[in-house]
Homo-oligomer: 180 residues x 2
């Protein structure tokens, strides 16, 4: 799929998904895309665990409470981060994993799958992410920060409406009225 | 350009650039790609200022000290963020602008341009970003967090080496030894 089409077609999808399994080679391509993202000072703070074993997926999903309504994808990718400094006291781990997630969402879209960036739901004060990490055997030093379902969407949905470009992008000065 | 090619070909480029101007329609396509990225609770915290006026570009670049050696691109995009909460006390502005930046880097690559994600250099304790924001008339409530040059690269360079996939991605358990 063309890059601009993937960027334009990507949107959050909250299910339901078709039961059709996701071939492991597709999950590998998606993870390769994620790990190709840049990282501050090339520290490569992001790691990934794909889940395609139904038993593991059920145990990870069972940690999410309240459950993600209608999220029944046959596979998922969990995003891990190491909060190590790029230099001095400067850490870009959030930037690093966010760029990796965006690459994966585009790869997921390009391959005809759907997904949704679930972060706040699992990293909130109740730290569901830590229970999910325990199921996956994630060691100390890594935080699980995001859960991405992967599967074929069962419905066609549109992304949310966004403010017009002219309200968020300008040339040469903030709020400039030149034609875009 | 195919999505996976853009993801695989994107890498940080630190100049020099060819003097060939960047058509405004390309800068618009790049900014549209950036603003198509997801944002936490669709808060759309990211805004952009593209610079293609040589005088403005010179004044913004003059804020960067020590200067970015060899960075002489004919255009640039400055990324602004509003650190507003998505819900309760949870702010995803860093995630939002990082996804937007990654989209723009892929769009830049797909259109045959090069760039580099300059963030730490300008957001360090000396807050060069605030001087840059002043040149662009950025009001209170918005932080300038990233400077992306845009131009045709004058040289061919390779991205940095990354650790093998098997060291950063696994199936169904952290560090699992299954074949990828």
């Amino acid at each position: 799929m063309d890059t601009f089409d993937a960027i334009g077609n990507r949107h959050s999808y909250r299910g339901p998904y078709l039961p059709e399994p996701v071939p492991r080679e597709d999950l590998v391509r998606i993870m390769e895309a994620g790990l190709a993202a840049p990282s501050g000072c090339n520290k490569q703070t992001t790691s990934l665990v794909a889940i395609d074993d139904p038993g593991v997926l059920a145990r990870v999903r069972a940690c999410i409470n309240p459950p993600l309504r209608r999220e029944n994808a046959p596979a998922a990718i969990c995003v891990l981060t190491q909060r190590i400094n790029a230099y001095r006291d400067k850490c870009f781990a959030v930037q690093d994993y966010s760029a990796a997630i965006e690459n994966m969402l585009l790869a997921i879209t390009a391959l005809g799958y759907a997904s949704c960036w679930y972060e706040g739901h699992i990293t909130d004060d109740d730290r569901l992410c830590d229970q999910m990490a325990e199921v996956l055997g994630v060691p100390a030093g890594y935080d699980l920060v995001c859960y991405l379902p992967v599967g074929k969407p069962d419905r066609t949905v549109r992304g949310p409406q966004k403010r017009p470009l002219a309200d968020r992008a300008w040339f040469n000065a903030f709020g400039a009225t030149q034609d875009l």
